[in-house]
């Protein structure tokens, strides 16, 4: 199994969600994060003048999938989360050794 961890723009989450649904992948876990990368921050206004915020709100989407589904998921995210502007984010793929469903106790062990 693989964990696909995508850091994306908040405003693209809806599109990503819909895209994954059409793949039949509903399951996901979402975390609000702050990020910094190539995008050096944004200018915000203050009472008087501006200031720069260097940590911007992003959304982390985590999806654990079977190895063979990883590519499809990555492609959907790539398509739906891309604006082409700096700050689109990154996808990290990590190994997951076992997945267990708490309700039933069923485990992925051996399937990987």
């Amino acid at each position: 199994m693989k964990k696909i961890e995508a850091i994306i723009r908040s405003e693209t989450l809806d599109a990503v969600k819909c895209g994954l649904e059409t793949l039949g992948m509903n399951a996901m876990t979402i975390t609000d994060v702050l990020g910094r990368g190539e995008q050096k921050g944004l200018e915000f206004t203050h009472r008087a003048g501006k200031y720069r915020v260097d940590l911007l709100p992003k959304v982390k989407v985590e999806i654990v999938v079977r190895d063979e589904d990883a590519r499809k998921v990555i492609e959907v995210i790539m398509e739906k989360a891309r604006t082409g502007e700096i700050g689109d984010g990154k996808i990290f793929v990590c190994p997951v050794e076992e997945v267990i469903r708490i309700r039933t106790g069923e485990s992925s062990r051996g399937k990987s």
Partner: protein, 441 residues
């Protein structure tokens, strides 16, 4: 080496005991004379409105800070309500509004509110004396509360309370007496309807001194940026300040009449204009209309109209609102350039806004609004009033700055004024109050 913690605990206890005990003897005389129900109703509600300004200012300030210091603003504001009320009741009112001595300080006749009862007040003959006392007490509270915005995020709570208690007695009370209690500025003929000098210059300039003595917050010293953590709370505080100011300026007529109505109306107009203009400046300067700026503009307009509210007409209010936005926006930029760490720009908004308003009163005051007032430079009154205004402004700047500077320097030899570096990073809420504002899970 003396341990500060215990020492200051004892000192505080002692101070409080001294302050509290004499209250025991305060008698209340029976009423005589006639109180007007409408005037009394208005002054009661105005008292309530000025009261709410103190928590309001804490929300206004606290929303602009890091979330780890929000509660410290709220807590300090409540403590100030408590401590300044006690000081006011015990001796503050008397020394401010008791019989004048040499133009400098009031008399002792009202110590422990002796004789301050429900019979009509001398100064406000249609409302109960006890109500006049409390209404004025609310001004003392809000003035002191303004200061916490300047020393936020770094001052120790115990030192702050000691500092502000002394400051109330040593700075606020004399200035209020000079201007309103029949002191020398009053005799000079300077006008300050609702506290441009007494409240805003005094607080704003004292913060300048305090910021210099205290030095910068660690984060600011490193060139860090303060990100306001909850702007809706700032707007909430600002909106409550705005309506509170209707009682602050409108109530200063000490009656429910045309003068009160005029004060209320020009107050709103000045704030409305200043908010709009600030938004416009923000837009021209940054390309965006800062909401923080809009509400700050409103507050700047409220500050600047304060000394003038009972003396100017809507036209005057328009110009004062306009000027307030320009002056205070510039004041904040100037403070950033100068680089001292007045955390929430109390100097820039209240100090400079109050100064501008006091001077503008010398320009726009007109006796068509208030026969008991004077005509300013632009209304055929010549420069007399303007000169009186300038003198009073200069005197209060000098006094407030000097007294606060000396007071804090002296205190700094006795006790640490600031939290430790590590404490400052963790934030005053946990360090001083043992609490966190939010636990959102």
């Amino acid at each position: 080496m003396m341990k500060h913690g215990m020492g200051s605990k004892l000192a505080l206890l002692l101070a409080l005991a001294l302050v509290a005990l004499p209250l025991l003897s305060s008698p209340v005389a029976a009423a005589d004379g006639e109180v007007d129900s409408g005037d009394t109703a208005w002054l009661m509600i105005a008292t309530g409105l000025v009261f709410i300004m103190t928590p309001a200012v804490a929300f206004f300030y606290g929303g602009m800070l890091r979330k780890s210091n929000f509660l410290s603003m709220l807590g300090q504001s409540i403590l100030i309500i408590g401590v300044v009320t006690i000081i006011w009741v015990v001796f503050g009112y008397s020394l401010t509004f008791g019989t004048d001595h040499a133009g400098l300080i009031g008399g002792a006749e009202y110590l422990m509110l002796n004789g301050v009862d429900i019979s009509p007040s001398l100064i406000a003959p249609t409302v109960p004396h006890i109500l006049f006392m409390m209404y004025q007490g609310m001004f003392a509270i809000i003035t002191v509360a303004l200061i916490i915005g300047g020393v936020a995020e770094r001052m120790k709570l115990s030192s702050l309370i000691i500092f502000l208690s002394i400051w109330t007695a040593a700075v606020y009370v004399p200035v209020a007496h000079w201007v309103w209690g029949g002191g020398w500025i009053y005799d000079l003929g300077a006008l300050d309807f609702a506290g441009g000098t007494v409240v805003h210059i005094t607080a704003g300039v004292s913060v300048l001194a305090a910021a210099l003595v205290l030095g910068k917050r660690i984060n600011m010293a490193k060139g860090g940026q303060e990100v306001p953590h909850n702007i809706p709370m700032v707007v909430l505080g600002g909106a409550l300040l705005w309506i509170g100011w209707f009682g602050f300026n409108g109530g200063s007529a000490l009656a429910s009449n045309g003068l009160a109505a005029n004060a209320l109306v020009v107050t709103h107009i000045s704030a409305a204009v200043a908010a709009t203009v600030w938004g416009l400046i923000s837009w021209l300067d940054t390309g965006r209309v800062s909401v923080l700026g809009l509400i700050s503009g409103g507050v700047a307009g409220l500050v600047a109209i304060t000394p003038a509210a009972g003396f100017v007409n809507p036209t005057g209010a328009l110009f004062i609102g306009l000027g307030a936005a320009v002056v205070c926006y510039g004041g904040i930029l100037l403070r950033k350039r100068l680089g001292f760490d007045d955390a929430l720009d109390v100097w820039g908004v209240h100090g400079l806004g109050g100064t501008f308003g006091a001077i503008a009163t010398g320009l726009f005051a007109t006796t068509t609004v208030n026969a008991a007032g004077k005509d300013g430079l632009l209304y055929g009154g010549g420069g007399d009033l303007l000169v009186a205004q300038l003198i009073s402004v200069a005197a209060v700047w000098a006094f407030a700055f000097g007294a606060t500077f000396v007071l804090l320097k002296a205190l700094s030899w006795v006790m640490p004024l600031r939290m430790s570096k590590n404490e400052e990073k963790i934030g005053a809420d946990i360090i001083q109050h043992g609490e966190s504002a939010y636990y959102l899970r």
